[in-house]
């Protein structure tokens, strides 16, 4: 690992100031993605700004139909939170399926969203529910936030402070985990309310995306059978040693059907 200077930020202002002062600085939250990246020498920041201890970035609260979760809230806290379990059970379930217990004890929601790994779990929930990503400067809706492979709308010196999740209707998440890492080979988050149905697919493509045909079909009939005749276009999907494009297209469909069945009981 290359050498760097470690800075422990006590407040958001301290973190922002340090980030602005050093063009090659990077934020460190749970470190579950960044530390392996540094070990592989895939990044060479001059400074690491540890935001894991900033109290203002932590916590879970429910107010006026919005579930607000601080960016530095760890996966284990989301998975076990009675508030999340009551408001959006699918989100608590999703968090309980990330990686393994040790990873969930460190990794954070903000880190996962900022990283936007094409096989990460949270991005699918955020896109499906159209969550709002709150930063130190502005609010970004999920529709505008995710921009493909490891790319987001965040500026290099921007910090996610919280995520606001609308609490409406029903939702469900199903993934086929990679047997070694737990990352999604394909995962589907389905959200349904009076305004309509949104289906977000992770793991299958170069970034999280909405499966519009499935949304239309489910809009008519909220039933796993409604998806039977559909085929997810395989051309743009990922292909690697773990599976072909066609395999992932099918897996994404199977996960969507399972999520719909879980959500609708049909």
């Amino acid at each position: 690992m290359h050498a760097f200077s470690y800075v422990k930020a006590r407040t958001l202002k301290e973190a922002t100031d340090t980030l602005l002062a050093h063009s090659e600085a990077k934020l460190l939250a749970g470190g579950m993605t960044l530390i392996p990246t540094l070990k592989a020498r895939l990044a060479q920041p001059t400074h690491l700004i540890d935001i894991g201890g900033i109290e203002a970035l932590k916590g879970i609260s429910l107010k006026a139909g919005q579930l607000t979760i601080g960016a530095a809230t760890r996966h284990v806290e989301v998975a076990n939170s009675p508030v999340v379990k009551r408001a959006i059970p699918a989100l608590a379930y999703l968090a309980s399926q990330i990686g393994d217990p040790q990873v969930r004890n460190r990794g954070t929601m903000g880190g996962s969203l900022a990283n936007n790994d094409p096989a990460a779990d949270y991005p699918s929930a955020a896109l499906s529910l159209n969550a709002t990503i709150v930063t130190n400067r502005r609010e970004i809706v999920a529709d505008d936030f995710f921009q493909g492979l490891f790319t987001t709308a965040l500026d290099s010196d921007e910090i996610i402070t919280a995520v606001r999740w609308p609490v409406v209707g029903k939702s469900a998440y199903e993934k086929f985990p990679h047997p070694a890492s737990g990352y999604a080979m394909a995962g589907a988050f389905v959200a349904h309310n009076t305004k309509g149905t949104r289906v977000a697919i992770t793991g299958a493509g170069p970034g999280v995306f909405r499966w519009m045909e499935a949304e239309q079909a489910l809009g008519k009939k909220m039933n796993a059978k409604a998806l039977e005749a559909l085929q997810l276009e395989a051309a743009d999907l990922n292909e690697d040693m773990h599976g072909t494009k066609e395999y992932r297209a099918n897996l994404a469909k199977v996960m969507t059907k399972r999520a719909v069945a879980k959500l609708s009981g049909k």
Binding site: A3, I35, P36, D50, G99, P101, Q102, N105, G182
Partner: protein, 160 residues
Amino acid sequence: MAKVELTINGKNHCFEVEDRTLLVNLIRDHAQLTGTHVGCDTSQCGACTVHMNGEAIKSCTVFALQANGAQITTIEGLAKNGKLHPVQQAFTQCHALQCGFCTPGMIMSVAGLLKNNPKPTDEQIYHGLEGNLCRCTGYVNIVKAVKKSAELLATQKQSR
């Protein structure tokens, strides 16, 4: 270089480390507690699992400086007054180790699992040990040992 103050197995320590020093290297090289192993160094195998403020974490994927002020428990900290911890007893009784390389991390994970869920089902045991790899046992006896640990911990609680 920077200073880290932390507690390991109830004892206060203060070390000078490089900013990039990993917690596992602090534990093994600075505190000279070599029970915690490094298997993969890529966050996969769980051999480096220790407890940080009571929670199981992979010490190869935490910087020593992130553990400033923390309470760390390693495998050396489990036995009390020369008596093995119930999870350690269960592992020996159930033959849950062969080469033993994964064992310190495995035991720390099991201790973490049982703290949150004192009576796990088989499914919960598999899910709870997903962060630990064993190349020898085939896991069958490890799962047995988790159940035995749960029994031993329950009787220990009753007798107190």
